[in-house]
Symmetry: C2
Subunit: 595 residues, 2 copies
């Protein structure tokens, strides 16, 4: 993991629009690489007649994009310190809404990692078909790489990120312009439409289903609103301009790509080539430009996944700080990152990719629910806020946010209904389970805090008495040193031996009298040959005379790790046997073995 | 695991020949159930011409059986207290030979479990073909069941074991008599010989290979010699009679079954039906007698596996007592069994069955080497012994043992050579590796014993000084109690706080002065935010003033297991960070949380 970083290295570079755009763009605009496939696959079940609806569906998505982005313009205005869905929902709609938003965000970030990496590998495989057999391995490797990078404390430098993002933006812009020009001037040859098996008659359900799938194109559109502070002054203004630009690029790209796939009659082949890659091939040919497009697509998708590695630990930390998640998720590690959160995210994302065998298409149904749930909660929260605070011009903001809330709520219902059987049910179970878990953890911490409060607490005036039990298996240098150490503590010492073999105990007593004439060795009978139960019993019995009991467990420190297996097994067992005894403390005396 | 058993329950029932035979028979005579298949499969690669050699091969095996069993008659005479190969080889041929024999025995016992259970399930599946798809699951389940039974401390009662063994003996005797009668009186219909693909021309190699495979029939023939003490007086005589009877039954069964498969032209179908089961079908028809035969075969094979659950821990204990294996393998558990050895055996056997996908045929090549290696070492050891001690009539014993040693050594070479590529190489790696491991463990224990000896040791006269470090994260009842306890210990106390946040430390100091006015709270700077490194450093620095340092780590005891995840994470990390510091002892102060 490299050497640790001191706290003062936690500085922020301040961004203008030009560098702010690439920093916040990856999650949002990378989704054109997989959302297009989702529309076409969704409509293709109704055959060629279905495909005719791809452009209208894309148009509907663009409308939602406009709705959501203008809605988030209001969030930026209201929360210049950064307004994530958890904060907005908690502050304006109460604790439960906040927890639901928090759970939705965590689920969403996990899926961003899984889907983005899987789709990145889809596009890599499209360009280099020889890698097709290693899709799963590459996906897992990609997530491991990102986890390592983030644990290592590597930060996205805006300048480093900007280059591939602008290359991607240039490549896609070129693709749309060149493709659009050829289509408009009729200098193009559409692909022969493959034989599509009609599985369903074309219906409103088919179209809604395709629409629901394509809604993943909206993920990450809100990113700017979480990071207003990263912008240079006037930061609200800069953030709003960036947000508007981002929405414009996203909408243009998405609509342009879908329209071109329609014109060129592109249909993706799952596991072989994405429609995005096919379009690249058709328009750019097989040359350098195509490979630039695919490579920048891979990089932007990995960058999109990488944003989750910053967002997931951040939200987990907010929840942990409020007592809803274990406290260790709130600790900034020695490399200035929330290492526990990063590791947790990487592990769950890998498990998810393995469970779904790396299929982007299979993961998508789980994705959009979390996104639109947090959108909706956030917008409803904003409406409440405006109505309550009523700042100047609040009614305009209310209109935008109410429209946004309504639009995203409708999409949420459509997505849940049409994707429920396809996998969304898992999210419908996961989110309430997480909320329940959060509440239970908070309840536990509250109860503990109440029990530990010093208010009205009177510490024992006369102090606490304790007795030191030293178990002795045999007499050797380690035992003698342990006894010397024990006698150096100013508390009563009891040396005990668990008697499994009477003869052995008698000969031990003989030697004992030579070495420790002043301290009697107490024999504890063990009819069942247990080495631990008699000590636990004896410790409990001494609790009647002393406030606490301390059991000294001698441990050998050996130079080699494998040698540990040859020692300390009784120590481990004794530690285990005593672990739940109230008022019994364990003192591990370490004795170094040099050989 | 049920309630523990007191030591005085460790009694032995003394056996006569009638009850002694079934107790020691299962491992040996159960092998007819799979050894027959091995001959036929081995010869079938040369087609029908190969199969003609099955009876001569069986005859050769019978000769080896006579050789080995008369050789072991001498072992019984010489070691009435029980002469396992490890003891005989160690005493007469030296430590290395003993370790080789010990390693061979351990490998052998593991394979007995794997092969016997897999073959038992083969025979179950032959009778109930519906179970064929669950072969692997049933095999693993069978081993788990035996492991549980033995951990539970269930002992084979001779009376309980006798019933199924005598049923098996009766069933097979009936099979041979009825089948033999029909063959001799020409009242039988041989099966049409299946189309055998000739993979090799018939050659000496083919025959030797089949012979090597069939040598597994000898496993367990030595069992009586390990347990002479179990017999009623005159125990040597009773044991020798039992041994002779056992060899007679084994030879008769093996030769009879192979001859019948030849006459009936039975060829097993791997994974579907064993030749043993096919023969049962042909001779007994599909009725009750057939199912009695198959059920008693399954039971006797499970009993054979079960003997290893007693033998493996016994040999492991002998090795552990001599310092060649970790000491915990020598502890008699609270249910009068060597629980560690039993668990280890079960785990390795399951791993083996899984690795070989439950195929008896694939496991067999690994099997015979260990058996014949221990036979050979044992017999050579006996020859050495007779020559050295020269008791009356020693030259007769020498002849028997020398013939046995020679015969088994030849078989060992044949088995190793012909099975090497088929899997025996694994055993050829495993046995030397085990021997090396044994030696390293012994060397380590010897070195430690030398370092720990009290001879010439002068304990520190003036005692040992120590200091108690109490890390304080925040002030609450638990902290105050820990400090009260620490101050009661009669040694200097240092309260320390790792400063990650300066403001937090200042406000902690304020409250601290109210609660602990007499004890200063020392702030340890932590530029890298580590909670453990500053404490480890401080502990090391105090080692300059004190003989040892003791770090108090407060731990919460919570009622629910899942709640542990919400606490004590820093305690675990601190424990881990300090685990290898020489002279630093750890005192776990337990504080009970009640909610």
């Amino acid at each position: 993991m490299g050497s640790p970083l001191p706290t003062h290295r936690l500085i922020h570079e301040k961004l203008g629009v030009l560098l702010g755009l690439p920093v916040f763009a990856s999650d949002a605009i990378s989704s054109v690489a997989y959302a297009t496939d989702e529309i076409i696959i969704g409509l293709a079940v109704a055959g060629a007649a279905g495909l005719a609806y791809s452009v209208p569906v894309a148009l509907a998505i663009v409308v939602i994009m406009i709705l959501v982005s203008s809605s988030y313009q209001q969030v930026i205005k209201a929360y210049p310190e950064g307004g994530g869905a958890y904060t907005v929902a908690k502050e304006n709609l109460g604790r439960t809404a906040g927890l639901v938003a928090g759970a939705a965000l965590l689920v969403d970030y996990i899926l961003t990692v899984a889907v983005s990496v899987a789709s990145g590998i889809d596009n890599l495989v499209s360009a280099v078909p020889a890698l097709a057999n290693h899709h799963l391995l590459l996906s897992v490797g990609g997530i491991l790489f990102l986890t390592w990078l983030n644990l290592r404390g590597v930060r996205e430098s805006a300048r480093v990120v900007a280059l591939p993002i602008y290359i991607f933006i240039a490549s896609v812009t070129g693709l749309i312009l060149l493709g659009g020009y050829r289509v408009l001037t009729h200098q193009f040859q559409p692909l022969p439409l493959p034989q599509l098996q009609v599985q369903h008659q074309l219906s409103a359900y088919t179209v809604l289903h395709a629409f629901a799938s394509a809604c993943v194109a909206l993920t990450g559109i809100e990113a700017v609103s979480n990071g207003v502070q990263a912008f240079r002054e006037p930061h609200v203004r800069n953030a709003r301009i960036t947000m508007a630009l981002l929405a414009l690029i996203l909408a243009t790209f998405f609509f342009g790509i879908v329209s071109l796939t329609r014109a060129y009659q592109v249909v993706p082949v799952l596991g072989t080539e994405t429609s995005f890659s096919k379009l690249g091939h058709l328009i750019y040919g097989g040359g350098v430009l195509y490979y630039v497009l695919q490579l920048s697509t891979l990089i932007i998708l990995l960058l999109a996944a990488n944003t989750s590695f910053q967002d997931f630990p951040r939200v987990a930390r907010l929840l942990a700080r409020d007592g809803f998640l274990p406290r260790q998720l709130a600790n900034l590690g020695d490399r200035l990152v929330f290492a526990n959160g990063i590791g947790l995210l990487g592990a769950i994302a890998i498990a998810l990719v393995l469970a779904f065998r790396g299929s982007t298409h299979a993961l998508i149904p789980l994705y959009a629910i979390g996104v639109f749930l947090s959108f909706t909660l956030s917008q409803i929260g904003m409406v409440r806020r405006w109505v309550k605070l009523q700042p100047p011009g609040w009614w305009i903001s209310v209109i935008f946010n109410a429209a946004g809330a309504f639009g995203t709520a409708v999409v949420l219902c459509v997505v849940t209904a049409s994707k429920f059987m396809g996998g969304a049910w898992m999210v419908c179970i996961a989110v309430p389970s997480l909320v329940r878990l959060f509440s239970r953890i908070r309840k536990h911490y509250d109860a503990v805090a109440k029990e530990l409060t010093l208010e009205g607490f009177l510490p024992p005036r006369q102090g606490m008495t304790t007795v030191l039990i030293v178990p002795v298996a045999s007499l050797h240098r380690g035992t003698v040193m342990a006894l010397t150490y024990a006698k150096g503590m100013g508390v009563p010492v009891r040396a005990v031996h668990v008697v499994v073999d009477e003869d052995q105990f008698r000969s031990l007593q003989e030697r004992w009298k030579q070495w420790e004439p002043d301290l009697p060795l107490i024999g504890l009978p063990s009819p069942y040959r247990s080495l631990t139960a008699p000590i636990a019993e004896y410790a409990s019995s001494l609790r009647l005379q002393f406030d606490t009991v301390t059991v000294l467990i001698p441990q050998f420190i050996v130079p080699q790790a494998w040698e540990e297996l040859l020692h300390n097994q009784s120590a481990i067992m004794l530690n285990f046997a005593l672990r739940h005894l109230h008022g019994v403390n364990i003192l591990h005396f370490r004795y170094q073995i040099h050989t």
